[in-house]
Structure formats: structure tokens, C-alpha cells
Symmetry: C2
Subunit: 255 residues, 2 copies
């Protein structure tokens, strides 16, 4: 049987330990090609590069995996991977991550990792974004690789519903404390921004964007609820953003 | 009665004619504050600025409107507007645009204009993204201002459902040819990317990202369907991206 073709992308850049962890999941399962940013591109959402040209630099690792680094965004990585690197070959699976940091709740909308998976789902490529609830560069990816492999193998075997990708979040817990895997829905939440004001050496003000996420639904059926109970959260994601439930109540706007 | 507080943002930057058109809608209706990028930031999706500090420069126009220019993204404009410029005052309405170019279908996910409106909806601020189906800098905003004002006035009077914003698209048609306003849903579509390869003067390859949108559902209930029939499309937008319809079929992934 032909080995599945797996495109690996991320938003933390080519040097992130989480990328190495993802490649270690993918390599035994298929033909792996990696297209990733040449630097950290966190919080890029679904941004694409329109005003400047894209670059693509190829290198091969010692164990024979083809890597391509680009100045583009995570979503650009998917487009470059499909069109330029793989020249419209059929991609069997797109893997994005493993992200250093959780992408549960509305974080998925800010996330370059998940945007790349969503981009692939536009083209009906089965796609999985994988994120670990630990921002640290030295995060322990043991549990992520363990559960990531289980999920990836099942998805390669059974596929995904059309135009759907998965937002997989792994709790920051040792492998033996993780209780299992739950299919979840996105919980409501809000970011509380803090814009820290400073003054530069020239007397001009500038601001650092920081903040924290407050979640409002924490039952076991939600992403955050599952993570807090030490379960891996697997949220199916689609890209119709219509508020269907409000269409009839807004008919008063019609003319 | 106190005048409503209206925050205006965009993604085409401070000098875009579409911004002037939006301010002309907002100014007679409330207290207007403008926070916009210092350059074109199209296709930025829900990107935020994490790796570098944000700047904010204030100026006042001749007719007394406060403008703030920032190096940040459209979503950063909303965060800076809420926290730094308006210091958590209650915002009655966020207006984003008027965008030079349509944001129907999946374009809304790439769009900085719509990301700014969605960002406001996270904080339950009524928000409207307004886009004209004409990319040209010299686009005629007459119909956009006419219909934009009608919609903005009604939303100021009646509000919007909680955590919901509107994606309003105006057809590229003279005012007298536009038939009215339709509440729509997002149609399925895909971008066909073209990555044009060139060689720079140093012999290195680079790529320009271009493409076109193919839409698959064009009945009158969809955004594209309404536009093609010369109606203004008003799509209510929410930010739960869960594929609820696929939760049960994915239970086989649970452990």
C-alpha cells in the first residue's frame, strides 16, 4: 500500500521542539514534508502575505525529511506546501503543531496553528492541529506524542467528516495522569487584555499586548472542561461562521 | 439623550477612502473615535501583535474627529481602542471598514475588517463590518454609505443578538440598481491559489500569492447569491467554530 502523504506545518517556526515532536509522530506513518515559518509566528490567526513576496528555502535533515522554511505565515505554509512544494499532489493529512501553548476556546481564532488546519479543511484535506497546554520552550511533549499518535493513526484509517478539521489540546499533565480523550465543543470565553504602557529612550510611549483567558463553560463537554479534568480535548472545527440561530430575528433589517 | 460612542476601525489603513466613507456614516450618529493601522493591513485575519511593541499616534481632523494610527493589526486596533484610547468606556457600536473589496464567504476568515468586528463581539460589543465588492482605490462608496447608514441606524436602535456581529457586503452596482437588503448565510467556497514564481536580480526565487474565489452555493439565502442578485448581504456572524453536527460521529476517537 502506498504510504500516505503528510504535510507538517506549525506557527512556532522551524526550530521549535514541538515541531520535532510532530515529525516524530508523522514519520513512521507516511511520507512527510515539512513547510514552516522561518521564525516564531504565534497569534497570526488566518493572516496571509499579500504585500510582499514569499520565499522558500529547502533543506534535508540527517534522517532524510524535507524541510522548507518560509518568511510567510502558517496559512501561507499550507498554500506553499500544496501548490509549490507538492505541486497539487493529493495530501492525505495535514498536521499543524505541536504548538507550545493551548489553543482551546477562542484562542483557536487567534491561533496560527489552527488557522493552518482550517486552511487545509477549505480544500477538504483532513487536518489536525495539535497543541500542548504549556507555553514553555522546554515543555515535555511525551504525552502529546503518545496521544497525538493514537489520534493521527485513527484519522488516517477512518478519515474525517468533509471540510472538518480537529483542534486537539493536550493537558499539561504527566502521561500517567491523563485520563483519556474526549470529543468536545468550544466553550465561551474572553481574553482580558492588558496593554502595558512603557516609555522608550526617546520619550515616546509604546504598549505591550498581554492578557489572560477567562472561560465561562467548564462542563466536561467543553474543551476547557475536558482539559481541567485531565482529558485530551478533541474539538471538530468547521468554518461556517454564520449565526444561523439569529437569521430569523434579524429579518427586520431586510428591505 | 447621550450620543452613542462609536469606535471605527479598518484594515486598509488611515488613508483609505473607505474609511472616510465610514466616518461619514458614523459622525452624524454619535461620538466617533477612529483607531486604524498606519498602513494597509489586508488579509491579516485575526492576527495580533505579540513579538513587538505597539505604537499609537493621535491626530485630530479639521472637523474635530480623533484619529489614532497604530503599527498594529486590525484586531490590535480594537484592543487598543477599548483599553488605551477609550480606557474601558462602554462602546455602543464598533464599525469596521468600509473595506475596499468583498468579504463574502470564506473571505471573511482572511479578512482583517471582519476579524476586528469579531474581536468586538467577543466582548459583546455590537459590531458591523462593511465591505464594498470593489477592490479599486477609486471605488464609488455612494451605495455603501446609503445602505450602511440604514443598517447602522437600525442596529443602534434595536441592538444585535449577544456575541454576534454583522458581515455586510455591498454589491458593486450603482445605488439605483441595488434591489434591497437580504439576511444571508455564508456560502461554501474555496480560494484557488496561484503562487506566481519569479526570480530576483540575485538569482533567488520568490513567489507572489494571488488567486480567485470559487463559490458553490448561490441561492438567494447565501451571501454570494444575494450579491449576484444586486442585494446587500447582511450575514450574522458568531465565533463558535465547533462542528456540532459531527460530534457524535467522532465519538469513536474517545478513550
Amino acid at each position: 500500500m502506498k504510504k500516505p502523504l503528510i504535510l507538517v506545518v506549525n506557527d512556532d517556526g522551524y526550530a521549535a521542539p514541538g515541531l520535532e515532536a510532530m515529525v516524530s509522530i508523522a514519520k513512521p506513518l507516511g511520507e512527510v514534508v515539512v513547510v514552516v515559518p522561518d521564525r516564531t509566528r504565534s497569534g497570526m490567526g488566518h493572516a496571509i502575505t499579500m504585500g510582499e513576496p514569499l520565499r522558500l528555502n529547502h533543506y534535508k535533515t540527517e534522517d532524510g525529511v524535507d524541510y522548507y522554511k518560509t518568511n510567510g505565515t502558517p496559512v501561507d505554509c499550507v498554500k506553499l506546501g500544496e501548490k509549490v512544494v507538492l505541486r497539487n499532489r493529493k495530501i492525505d493529512l495535514l498536521l499543524s503543531g505541536i504548538n507550545h501553548g493551548s489553543n482551546s476556546s477562542v484562542s483557536l481564532i487567534y491561533s496560527g496553528t489552527m488557522a493552518a488546519a482550517i486552511e487545509a479543511s477549505f480544500d477538504n484535506i483532513p487536518a489536525i492541529g495539535l497543541s500542548l497546554q504549556d507555553y514553555s520552550r522546554n515543555a515535555d511533549f511525551t504525552a502529546s506524542v503518545h496521544y497525538g499518535r493514537i489520534i493521527v493513526e485513527k484519522v488516517l484509517e477512518k478519515g474525517l467528516p468533509p471540510y472538518t478539521c480537529l483542534n486537539v489540546n493536550i493537558p499539561k499533565s504527566p502521561l500517567e495522569e491523563i485520563k483519556g480523550i474526549r470529543i468536545t465543543r468550544q466553550c465561551r470565553a474572553t481574553w482580558h487584555e492588558d496593554l502595558e504602557e512603557r516609555t522608550d529612550p526617546y520619550g515616546m510611549k509604546y504598549y505591550w499586548l498581554t492578557g489572560y483567558l477567562e472561560t465561562f463553560e467548564e462542563d466536561e463537554t467543553t474543551c476547557e472542561g475536558a482539559l481541567r479534568r485531565h482529558y485530551v480535548s478533541v474539538q471538530p472545527v468547521q468554518h461556517d461562521m454564520t449565526a444561523h440561530q439569529h437569521i430569523s430575528s434579524l429579518k427586520y433589517l431586510e428591505l
